[in-house]
């Protein structure tokens, strides 16, 4: 739903990291997006192509690592992967559940390119 706001944050973080590291370009960005973050990667890519134009991140390739939602049952200890629909613990029927993974929405690392200068090589 709010992929534009998310994409703007990614751009800001990437450009900021580039300037802090004296880089002229960002070439790749590695993202982790959990199933429960309700972010659609295709929409992020769509906005990215538009808003990164004219910035150091223009043309950078976005890599998405999607993390499925996993739940843990506090009653019987069972762990299971959430399908589209929320269901009680498949082993014991309990609804005392906690989320182990799937809420991630983060930028992990980027690849940057520095302008060649006279001191190198």
């Amino acid at each position: 739903m709010h992929e534009l706001a998310v994409t703007e944050s990614i751009l800001e973080l990437a450009n900021q990291a580039a300037s802090e590291n004296g880089a002229s370009r960002v070439t790749e960005i590695f993202l982790t997006i959990g199933q429960l973050s309700s972010i659609v990667a295709d929409s992020v890519q769509f906005y990215w192509d538009h808003i990164s134009k004219g910035t150091p991140s223009e043309g950078a390739i976005l890599h998405f690592e999607r993390v499925p939602a996993r739940l843990h049952c506090k009653d019987c200890g069972e762990s299971y992967q959430l399908s589209e629909e929320l269901l009680p613990c498949p082993a014991c029927g309990s609804i005392a559940l906690e989320i182990i993974s799937g809420e991630e929405l983060q930028i992990d690392h980027i690849e940057i390119m520095k302008e060649k200068d006279d001191t190198t090589g």
Binding site: A14, S37, L86, D108, H109, K114
Partner: protein, 225 residues
């Protein structure tokens, strides 16, 4: 040659920092902040208005209204009750974020208030991802929306403090299994407070009001002008 730079930052980090500042500002002024979220038409404005009418003398509220369009319909209704209301036009955005709320809080005289109510944009999916810096996140569900929503959209109901189920006056006309619905909510939210209310009949408001009043911090009351 490219070089790898580790970042490992939450993408909505900036929002979370500003939300924390909003919360600190509210705390400093002893104001309890609530974020009201729901699908369009579930009854945010109605619940807020009924709540304002029932506030005891001496408890003062301010309201921040988020709308995607520059219409002041909801803000005007609140102002008509004598409550300060600030309209924030999100210019098309589907949710409020902490920056918009920061601007709204600046327009309220927090020193005079005990309660700040934020009516989020009518959208059930994404406002929940944006911490605004309030003390309580509240979703208003309504009977006509159906009882299977928690199972279809589990992520919406996470991280909530309170669920208000509104329009219970319509229960005789609509198939809505209250047990099934609330169980779906409790799956990822065992500690959530649930209140069932009707803005039409006023039924159920006592429980919600006493919960709300128990959260409002003590503050030296300024004399009525």
């Amino acid at each position: 040659m490219t070089q790898r730079v580790e970042i490992v930052r939450k993408i909505l980090d900036a929002n979370e920092r500003i939300a924390a500042a909003n919360r600190a500002l509210l705390d400093e002024n002893k104001v309890f902040g609530v974020n009201m979220m729901s699908a369009p038409g579930a009854g945010k404005t109605s619940v807020i208005m009924e709540t304002l009418r029932r506030l005891p003398h001496g408890v003062r509220a301010g309201v921040i209204e988020g709308d995607t369009a520059p219409v002041t319909i909801d803000a005007d209704k609140i102002s008509a009750l004598g409550t300060p209301a600030v309209q924030i036009n999100t210019s098309g955005s589907c949710h409020l974020d902490a920056v918009m709320v920061e601007l709204g809080l600046q327009k309220l005289d927090l020193k005079l208030l005990n309660l700040a109510v934020i009516e989020n944009v009518g959208n059930l999916i994404c406002p929940a991802s944006f911490d605004l810096g309030t003390h309580a996140n509240i979703v208003i569900a309504s009977i006509p929306e159906g009882d299977d929503k928690p199972y279809k959209y589990p992520n919406i109901y996470r991280g909530l403090d309170v669920l208000i189920i509104n329009k219970i006056d319509l229960l005789p006309y609509i198939d809505f299994r209250m047990d099934y619905f609330t169980r779906g909510i409790q799956i990822l939210n065992p500690d959530i407070k649930i209140f069932t209310v009707s803005c039409k009949s006023g039924e159920g408001f006592e429980g919600w009001m006493s919960w709300l009043m128990s959260k409002i911090p003590a503050k030296d009351q300024l004399k009525d002008l």
